[in-house]
């Protein structure tokens, strides 16, 4: 079995007196979609932000591609090849697709932008993801639908040769049909060999795309299981009670924040 691309061991994180993440073990494998589920306040977003370097961890170990690393800020994460896509689409409405994808990392030399090169790279990336719903890469982002915007945000992550893409509820702001188009893209990311983490509240979505499900309960990792081994009911139990049959944490009733 291939080594996990990203592995967290015994990660803890507190905000003042609030202990948000308790000894979290979490693995992300290349080519798999790992769904991160949990109730509100279970620590999903905090975990993702810790990996992305926005909230540096208090203790614990992060291993990336077999090597122990420390992530102290978003720049460290980006340098390793970790990209994050948020639900509230971090795109600029007044710029076109190419400008957005290269924002802050424009290509060019001698003070001139190499528009052709950037345009080609953007088009190539969209084609590699089989995105055929966007007509022109010079379309203004403001004229795109929610689903198309999310597509651009995700494609941006691929353009930078990321190895791990974290998606924090990428479909929360979308309608049913557009959600499905984005989920389709999420799976194609994994099929390209990237490690994908998907935060979602929607069990149907999770079962449609995820290879493995990691369930957080009050800041603890209740279970990490292959999707094909569990049912909807079991996952809902894990989310709400921290335990389902043999799965889950030993004494959920004693778990506190």
């Amino acid at each position: 079995m291939s080594e996990p691309i990203l592995e967290l061991r015994g990660v803890n994180k507190s905000f003042g007196p609030v202990h948000v993440l308790h000894d979290i073990d979490f693995t992300v494998r290349a080519g798999e979609v790992t769904a991160l589920v949990g109730d509100n306040g279970a620590g999903k977003s905090t975990l993702v932000k810790s990996i992305a370097g926005i909230h540096p961890i208090d203790s614990g170990e992060v291993v990336f591609d077999g090597k122990p690393v420390t992530i102290n800020g978003p720049r460290d994460a980006a340098a390793l090849g970790i990209e994050v896509v948020y639900q509230d689409l971090a795109l600029c409405d007044n710029l076109d697709i190419v400008q957005n994808m290269f924002l802050g990392r424009e290509r060019g030399k001698a003070g001139m932008l190499d528009e052709t090169d950037m345009e080609q790279a953007a088009r190539k990336t969209l084609t590699s993801l089989s995105v055929r719903t966007v007509k022109s890469v010079r379309t203004q982002v403001s004229s795109l639908s929610g689903g198309q915007r999310q597509t651009v945000a995700i494609a941006k992550a691929v353009l930078w040769n990321s190895k791990v893409v974290l998606l924090d509820e990428p479909t929360a702001a979308l309608g049913v049909a557009q959600t499905r188009q984005v989920l389709d893209l999420v799976r194609r990311l994994a099929e390209q060999g990237l490690g994908v983490v998907l935060i979602s509240h929607n069990m149907n979505d999770v079962f449609e795309v995820a290879d493995r499900i990691a369930c957080l309960y009050l800041g603890r990792m209740a279970a990490e299981v292959p999707t094909k081994d569990v049912t909807h009911g079991q996952v809902v139990e894990l989310i709400t009670a921290g335990r389902s049959g043999e799965l889950g944490i030993a004494r959920p009733e004693s778990a506190t924040i």
Binding site: M1, S2, A30, E32, T133, A177, R187, E191, G193, K228
Partner: protein, 390 residues
């Protein structure tokens, strides 16, 4: 259809020309009136009449070409309008189902896919999910599909879409065509996945302009599609194409088909996982990731994939000797194989196959369509009867 003894009436001729023109635009994309006239061998005024008729009903649009060549008034560019005729393509795989709405000219307007697990793989569940998703896609895009094409990894009767056996899906005698026609309320055509992959490569992929092509794809099992003299080779009932079940290793591993040592058992996804030291049920992405990392390290390729490469080449020597293609397209999971593997297979086949030597080396390439080949093929299957009616 007119019998050879009867003459063709003018309206039949006109309809035939109209369909030919539409097919040309659908497959090869926008084209000027002048080049349409040249390629179809029709008079310019005939082309004008046809294009005007199509433009009036909104099937095509005309505009001035952006780049002018030569002197004189530029010939108008004729563009197919995707919304004029939309079909639904469905690719049922072992691990997932992918769907897309495809417009005239081959544009994918919208798409969706989902994973299949134990229970959701049952025919009833799959059909229900397809019906739900079809409605969502149609509503979002505001289109109505005029035809449906379905790709299934199994033995399919073309006439009515009866799936006799799809072993990896655990389907036996599923009346997929009839059941989908009932829920989708549009004509449904069902085809074998590899055959449709071959069709897609022939029309829109690596095999454009090649008339003798073999398409070999690896999903979980191995399938083969054959284009011979420009048309699909179907066999009685349309059952041809189980190339993965030619026995290459007598006394080898047991195959679910009842034989031992089928080609599939040596080059299928499970065999690839064994070669890569992954568990046999590793997700597709993990296999691709491993192959990608291997491609970055060519020295270890022959060490880890040497035996696999040998089996792939061995089977292909037989395929090439038997069917004599000018081109072999490796599709689906095989598109992730490192380039050195494809190169080595090509060299081995040329060295060992009489036919390949005779034609000066059969070309063997990776599919540029990748995962989408069967989806695109399913769309073309649905388009075939539609083009005459638009």
């Amino acid at each position: 259809m007119a019998t050879p003894t009867a003459g063709a009436r003018p309206d039949e001729v006109r309809r035939h020309n109209r369909t030919a023109l539409l097919r040309r635009l659908h497959v090869d994309g926008p084209s000027t009136r002048a080049s349409l006239a040249a390629e179809l061998g029709l008079n310019r005024s005939t082309i004008k009449a046809l294009v005007d008729g199509l433009a009036e009903s909104g099937v095509v649009a005309e505009r001035l070409p952006a780049q002018r060549t030569g002197a004189g008034r530029p010939s108008l560019l004729v563009l197919p309008q995707p919304q004029a005729a939309v079909v639904m393509a469905i690719d049922v795989r072992v691990e997932q189902v992918a769907m897309a709405m495809v417009g005239l000219g081959g544009d994918i307007l919208g798409r969706h896919s989902w994973n299949l697990h134990r229970r959701t793989r049952e025919p009833g569940e799959v059909i229900t999910h397809i019906a739900d998703s079809a409605k969502l896609l149609a509503d979002e895009l505001d289109v109505t599909a005029v035809g449906v094409g379905v790709s299934v990894p199994g033995v399919v009767r073309r006439a009515d879409g009866m799936v006799h056996e799809a072993p990896n899906l655990h389907w036996t005698d599923v009346a997929l065509g009839a059941r989908l026609t009932a829920v989708l309320q549009a004509p449904v055509h069902v085809g074998n996945d590899a055959e449709l992959g071959a069709l897609a490569e022939h029309l829109r992929g690596a095999a454009r302009g090649s008339s003798d092509v073999v398409y070999i794809s690896a999903d979980v099992g191995i399938g083969g599609g054959v284009i011979s003299s420009g048309t699909p080779l179907r066999g009685a009932g349309g059952y041809v194409g189980e190339l993965g079940h030619m026995v290459v290793r007598p006394g080898g591993r047991h195959c679910y088909c009842g034989c031992q040592g089928c080609w599939e058992t040596e080059i299928g996804e499970a065999a690839l996982c064994r070669a890569l030291a992954l568990p046999e049920d590793a997700p597709r992405g993990a296999v691709v990731a491993e192959l990608r990392s291997l491609a970055a390290d060519p020295s270890s390729v022959s060490h880890r994939l040497g035996e696999f490469t040998e089996w792939l080449a061995l089977g292909l020597v037989t395929v090439v000797n038997m069917l004599g293609p000018e081109l072999v397209v490796l599709g689906d999971l095989f598109t992730a194989l490192p380039q050195v593997v494809v190169d080595r297979v090509r060299a081995t086949v040329q060295q060992r196959s009489l036919v390949s030597r005779a034609v000066g080396g059969t070309r063997i390439v990776s599919s540029p369509l990748g995962r989408d080949a069967k989806l695109i093929g399913a769309a073309e299957l649905a388009f075939e009867p539609v083009l005459g009616l638009v």
